[in-house]
Symmetry: C2
Subunit: 124 residues, 2 copies
C-alpha cells in the first residue's frame, strides 16, 4: 500500500509522520517504505537497491528500527534458492500496518480543510 | 500557538504537514513558524533573527509564500517609531490558522493509535 497523499495538481499535501525514540527515528516515511520493500522483495539488499541506497546504509536503517522496538521488525532467514534473505516479523508487519493506518487517519482528518486551503492557493 | 506534538519521552511523534504548490512549499512547519514570528515581532528581520536565518533567506521564504497564494500573506508597513516593519494580512492570518487547525486535526486523529504504538516501542 502506498503512503496516502492528498494530490490534486498543482496542490499536493504531504503528511510526514515520524515516530522518534530519543535521538532515533523509530519509523518514518523512508523506513516504512523500506519495510514494505523488504516484505515485497524478501531481501534487505534488494530493498536497498530498489530505494537507491547502499547495502551498508540499508542495514543501518534496519538495525536502528530493530533496536527501537521490543523485538526485531526484520529478521534474516537462511537457506532457500538464493542463500537466504529477510522477512518482516509479526511485529514488523504490525508496526508497518499501524504506521500506514496512522497516515490514513491523519490524511482523512484534514480532508475537509484541504478544500478550504485550495481556495486560497494561487492557481496560475 | 505552538505546533501540536505528541510528546511522551522517550517517544515523540512528529507530523510534518507540507502544502506543495508545484515545486514550491506553499506552507510547511518552518514557514508556519516564520509567519507566527512575523506576527509576534512585527518585523521580517526580527523574525529571521529569532529563527537563526539570514535576512535574505527570510525574505526569500516570505516571497515564496506570498507568490503561492491568491494574495500576499505578509505585507510591509511603513512609518512608526522603528521605520516600518511587516504584518500578516487577513489572508496570512487565515492561512496560518487553517494550517494549525490541520495539524491539530491530524494529531488528534492518530491519538488513539499512539498508545498502541507505545506498547511496541522499546523502553530502555
Amino acid at each position: 500500500m502506498p503512503a496516502p497523499r492528498i494530490d490534486d495538481p498543482p496542490l499536493r499535501i504531504d503528511l510526514d509522520l515520524r515516530v522518534h525514540l530519543g535521538d532515533q527515528i523509530a519509523i518514518g516515511p523512508g523506513k516504512a517504505d523500506l519495510l514494505e520493500s523488504i516484505r515485497r522483495t524478501g531481501s534487505i539488499s534488494a530493498a536497498g537497491r530498489e530505494m537507491g541506497m547502499s547495502y551498508k546504509h540499508t542495514w543501518l536503517l534496519v538495525e536502528s528500527m530493530n533496536g527501537c522496538f521490543q523485538s526485531a521488525l526484520v529478521q534474516a532467514v537462511k537457506g532457500g534458492k538464493k542463500g537466504g534473505g529477510a522477512v518482516l516479523t509479526d511485529l514488523g508487519l504490525e508496526v508497518l500496518a499501524c504506521y500506514r493506518h496512522m497516515q490514513t487517519l491523519a490524511a482523512d482528518a484534514i480532508g475537509p480543510e484541504v478544500s478550504q486551503f485550495k481556495r486560497r492557493i494561487h492557481e496560475s
